[in-house]
Symmetry: C2
Subunit: 170 residues, 2 copies
């Protein structure tokens, strides 16, 4: 089936000039959602990945089912102030300001093999910040996996040396 | 296996006097995570539920794998300003202020049968606001399902007439 047809383009969200790729029509479609998650599962089943790291919040909607599907653990990377325990933080630049991401200090052990999941790769700022968090914990990032990649924004260039998997490219 | 042992109690988070139940040690444990999701899947497989509604953000970590596991669609209820399309909003009171939740106006059709998932039932404020959103769309809430229920806060009383499922009670 075509999952591209279930992704909706919304002009000028969240700011003028940005064409937002809305995956909610895909998520709510039972067949479409299963197919999308299966793309991730088929790619990483048997890869030896022990943990899936999801980036808040749409990364949780895809990353948690992937973890369940391949029998891995799930680790949330969160916006500031959400995690209750000892944690690390990394800042990143947005088109519209700066923000930071956090991970629990005990989320991973040195040498753990992970895949990082988010819905969309744009400039790669959040993915690169996540990689810095994971490197500080000594984890090995096997791959970054996105449902959608926006080629024009060259997000791959922000992740040199890492494998980047995406299933729909604009 | 015991999943209770993988839930961590954090005193005074996010505010003094609140004992926060941290599920991240459970999520990151592959066996524990699978077992927790299987509790939900086993409960709702074959129930005829067509959509799982997850409440931001920990509800996504449990609700999206449940949707995948039972072959349902997934619908996020989100914090304000996150959804890009035409939407409905409902406010609710917190111990520490007020907030609101939003759902896309086209997320469900009248008569759709859903289960609502979050990690924890406390006062029931967010669950009740979610029920109001779903009722405005004409959806039928088959059940609310939580990993954890805090009995002392009587959250069930905020959801009269609804089935409430929880797997760990304090």
């Amino acid at each position: 089936m075509s999952i591209e047809g279930l992704i909706r383009a919304i002009p000028d969200f969240p700011l003028p000039g940005i064409l937002f790729r809305d995956i909610t029509p895909l998520l709510k479609d039972a067949e479409g959602f299963r197919h999308a998650i299966d793309l991730f599962v088929d790619r990483f089943k048997g890869s030896g990945v022990q943990h899936v790291v999801g980036i808040e919040a749409r990364g949780y909607m895809l990353g948690a089912p992937l973890a369940y599907g391949i029998g891995a653990g799930f680790i949330p990377v969160r916006k500031p102030g959400k995690l209750p325990y000892s944690k690390l933080s990394e800042s990143y630049a947005l088109e519209y300001g700066t923000n930071s991401l956090e991970i629990h200090a005990d989320a991973l052990q040195s040498g753990d093999r992970v895949v990082v999941v988010d819905d969309l790769l744009a400039t790669g700022g959040t993915a690169a910040a996540t990689r810095r968090l994971l490197e500080r914990l000594g984890a090995k990032v096997e791959a970054f996996a996105f449902l959608i990649e926006l080629d024009a924004l060259k997000g791959r260039d922000a992740l040199p040396g890492s494998e980047v998997v995406s299933f729909i490219r604009y």
